[in-house]
Amino acid sequence: MKILVLAEINNGELAEDQTSKTVSAAATLGKVDVLCASNQCSDASTNIAKMENVENVLVLEDELFAQGLAESYSETLIDTISSYTHVFAPSSSFGKNVLPRIGGMLDVMVISDVSKVISEDTFERPVYAGNAIQTVQSIDKVKLISVRTSNYSAVPLTGSANIKKIDCKSNNTLTTFIENKMQTSDRPELTSAKVVVSGGRGVGSKENFEIIEGLADKLGAAVGASRAAVDSGFAPNDWQVGQTGKVVAPDLYVAVGISGAIQHLAGMKDSKVIVAINKDEEAPIFQVADFGLVDDLFKAVPEIEKKV
């Protein structure tokens, strides 16, 4: 067994939580090597070298990898990647973009969104928006696995791996990066936050979403939203929690004005404690909430913000 993890590094910045939890999932099978491919890798590789169970950090510094474009993974790099028996990546927009393309190049099926590594060829993954959990066994020579990172904890920083530069001719004549419009925020990242406050259709408007943001800031929480709220333009797309958005599992999830559609529950039902506030006592969210309050959110949330 030879295990590789693809680190997520966006324009030189390590997505530490995603990468560390992916290492954690991969390390259930043994020691791992980590590939750092980005325009600027020195900070990222130093960080990764400290992660427990990492043996070697392979550094590939090239402008082509700055923005995570999948076409940059050339055939020579694929040769390096396929010398491993297992390749793990986070199931983030980076991993979902790159890993299946590598699968296509190698003629290997990707095992997406793995929630549990059972053995070297057997994995658990949710299907049907988390309404069923499937156990699959892969017969491929290389196992390509994207990890549902909310199911794993970050690894301790007790290691001291070797850092090696690798050389690899890459080229991308197919796609060109134009621009990023990223949400900048001082709040914790949604997928790794300990507390998440989310708003749904019941919040009613983009302006009213400030009520949700106010409570979130008071609790030091990340802000989430249901698909209905994002579709209605109340909240930006990268706040969406659910089957097709982000999957979160914080210690505390506060759902405000969210009815609890199946596809939303798929993204948050592994939270440790769920609190729901909704004026409709029949709302399905109360079926999964540990604590519910049937009340008008416009009255309740500002009062809660004052009192916590």
Partner: protein, 252 residues
């Protein structure tokens, strides 16, 4: 230019998936099946591109059982010009893996020569989110995943992608494979006259062998189970009780 749109027949998104008691999978016998919602969005986008005069022909492709022709008739009623059905199995419970789907679609693309393949970003049954990426790798074409905006400019397609943290815009050289996300558009309903017209549009039926593709399953499904369920909790009486619960669980 031609646009190819693969459409999958899946359990209708309003129907709750029920795991079969023997753990062999999700029950698909006698339940409502529909076009995968993401594929509907891809098809709608293809139709809008054609309506703007930037495409001449839209070909819908479905891979699976004979009954997928219903899904293709829906695609034709929405506005696809013709359809190809690849009958790959006679068992509704046998899911054709994205890798096999990509191999079949690559063979069709080489034959048909589309400039653009528009796919849904994932199927709501197996949730793999892989077909578009695998297909573009097979064809050695550009890929643009999770599109929330698509703009065709001669030999490139400019795509705004929904990524973690916000939006990313890239230019992909045509021919390209684009996978679409939820907020790209709102698909239309087929009108009754168009449903009638769709019955006369061409629907070709082939087998994977006709394309020289052999389907081998790489992932063996060992079992399918219900997720651990959560118990409904306590309905609190007032805000003060809720504040207390929040404070208990916020941690240090």
């Amino acid at each position: 230019m031609k646009i190819l749109v693969p459409v999958k027949r899946v359990l209708d998104y309003n129907v709750k998936a029920r795991v079969k008691a023997d753990g062999s999978g999700v029950d698909l016998a006698n339940v409502k099946m529909s076009m995968n919602p993401f594929d509907e969005i891809a098809l709608e986008e293809a139709i809008r591109i054609k309506e703007k005069g930037k495409a001449e022909e839209i070909i819908a492709v479905s891979i699976g059982i004979q009954q997928n022709q219903e899904t293709l008739r829906t695609a034709l009623a929405m506005g696809a010009d013709r359809a190809i059905l690849v009958v790959a199995t006679d068992d509704v419970h046998k899911d054709i893996e994205p890798l096999a789907v990509a191999n079949i679609l690559a063979a069709i693309a080489l034959k048909e020569g589309p400039s653009l393949i528009l796919c849904g970003k994932q199927a709501i049954d197996n949730d793999f989110n892989a077909t578009a990426q695998m297909l573009s790798a097979k064809l050695k074409w550009a890929q643009a995943t999770f599109a929330s905006e698509i703009d065709i400019k001669e030999d490139i397609v400019r795509v705004t992608r929904e990524v973690d943290g916000g939006l990313q815009t890239i230019d992909a050289k045509i021919p390209a494979v684009v996978s679409v996300d939820l907020r790209l558009n709102e698909p239309r309903y087929a009108s009754l006259p168009n449903i009638m017209k769709a019955k006369r549009k061409p629907l070709e039926e082939i087998n994977p062998a006709d394309l020289g593709v052999e389907i081998t399953q790489r992932l063996k499904v060992i079992k399918t189970k219900e997720p651990d369920s959560r118990e409904a909790g306590l309905i609190l009486e007032n805000i003060d009780q809720l504040v207390e619960k929040i404070q208990e669980n916020v941690g240090g």
